[in-house]
């Protein structure tokens, strides 16, 4: 049996830094209020010419380099995004072409849970075709938020994060959980641009192509669903919460993260956050945080870690991994 292991990781963020001071002036609000509201101090937004795919390509290259592989080695490319390069074809097609990936390419859209969905897809794919997979989470929500929308504007950041997944004898994945509750589609949505409401001048004039958030619903559901998925995955993995060396949650809002940690019984010192520097980068937030957590030495060989995300839909996903895989010493 070939198992899935993570052998490369990388990230790419735009170099344009958007500070709270800049947004405070733009939205005529208090700079400190922004940080108290969400814990974000600055975020990265794309410039003209930077796109969802271009960020994905940069992150993918970094992950491939770290893994010591080339694009020719990749059998399958999975791109998780909710802000595609264009409506058609899939963003993965652009990324595949630019990177020169030899194998298949497809997108996954589960909003901010996209990376977790992609990771479980990859885990399943690895079982039927044990060859290297490149999984990239990438989003540019600065382009989908209404420039006049303060509530979303202070939250969103752009970026991409990638992992290279390769087959191996040692099993890294101990448990996982995915789910969705489609009755909450209105919590965060852009209603114009699809078959339900094709683009029209009238709709665009009304700004219906922009994403709109119901913050109360998101908060409540994010906490409820994240706590539940964490418990299910820990149970599936046969792991106690105290055994986790690190939890990497979706970097949405520090107050949501703190609430999830509190209600799920997570040790706050073992919850990784970097949203203060990047904002909510959606599908990219978990792989960006993973890249930084490993880079900062927060994850060591043999550590039990949990990745967990939630997103519009609403969707959620989580996974418990043994970093480096199960060994006789670690098992």
């Amino acid at each position: 049996m070939q198992h899935m292991q993570i052998t490369g990781w990388g990230k790419a963020v735009p170099d344009r830094v958007v500070t709270n001071a800049e947004l405070a002036e733009k939205f005529d609000i208090d700079e400190e209020w922004i940080e108290s509201r969400c814990g974000i101090r600055e975020r990265r937004w794309v410039r003209d010419g930077e796109t969802t795919a271009s960020l994905a390509v940069d992150a993918g290259r970094a992950a491939l380099e770290h893994a010591g592989l080339t694009a020719d080695d990749i059998a399958h490319l999975v791109v998780a995004t909710a802000t595609p390069e264009q409506p058609s074809p899939a963003t993965s097609a652009f990324v595949q072409h630019e990177l020169g990936v030899a194998g298949s390419a497809h997108d996954v859209n589960a909003e901010c849970s996209g990376f977790m969905y992609g990771l479980v897809h990859a885990y399943a794919l690895m079982r039927v075709d044990p060859r290297p997979i490149l999984l990239i989470g990438t989003d540019t929500h600065s382009l989908t938020a209404n420039p006049e929308d303060r509530d979303l504007g202070i939250l969103v950041g752009d970026g991409a994060g990638a992992v290279v997944l390769t087959p191996g004898e040692s099993d890294w994945v101990l448990g996982w959980d995915l789910g969705a509750e489609g009755r909450w589609t209105s919590s965060l949505q852009a209603v114009c641009g699809g078959s339900r409401m094709p683009p029209s001048k009238e709709a665009i004039d009304e700004g219906l192509h922009y994403a709109k958030i119901n913050g109360n619903e998101i908060y409540l559901n994010a906490v409820r669903l994240s706590v539940a998925t964490a418990r299910r995955t820990l149970d599936n993995a046969g792991v106690e919460v105290e055994d986790l060396a690190l939890v990497i949650p979706h970097q949405a809002n520090i107050r949501i993260i703190n609430s999830i940690a509190s209600h799920a019984g997570l040790d706050p010192d073992r919850v990784f956050t970097n949203l203060e520097r990047y904002g909510n980068t959606a599908s990219a937030s978990i792989p960006i945080a993973l890249d930084e957590a490993v880079g900062e030495g927060r994850i060591q060989q043999g550590d039990l870690i949990m990745l967990m995300g939630f997103g519009a839909g609403m969707t959620w996903g989580s996974m418990v991994l043994r970093w480096g895989g199960e060994s006789k010493e670690a098992a």
């Binding site: 509201r37 109360n216 619903e217 908060y219 409540l220 409820r224 107050r255 949501i256 609430s259």
Partner: protein, 83 residues
Amino acid sequence: MTLTLSEFLAQIEAVSGATDVDPDAALVEISDIDSMDMMEWLYSFQSEHPEVGADPDIFENEDGSTTLRIVHDRLVKVAAAAA
């Protein structure tokens, strides 16, 4: 579910860190309490009293005049209807 107004205020204060909250002040005028504090309280309340079926509607504040006393009144009504 029997949550008095004073108990409700104490729980909101515990969640938000606010002190001496005026139950008759409009929510929008209470700077130490924001919508996420209210949702945090609601999450705990829902977890403790799932039978009540309280949802974010109890904080509805379209005209900006909702107070914590009004929220508590709504909560009591929801709980009574669910009983």
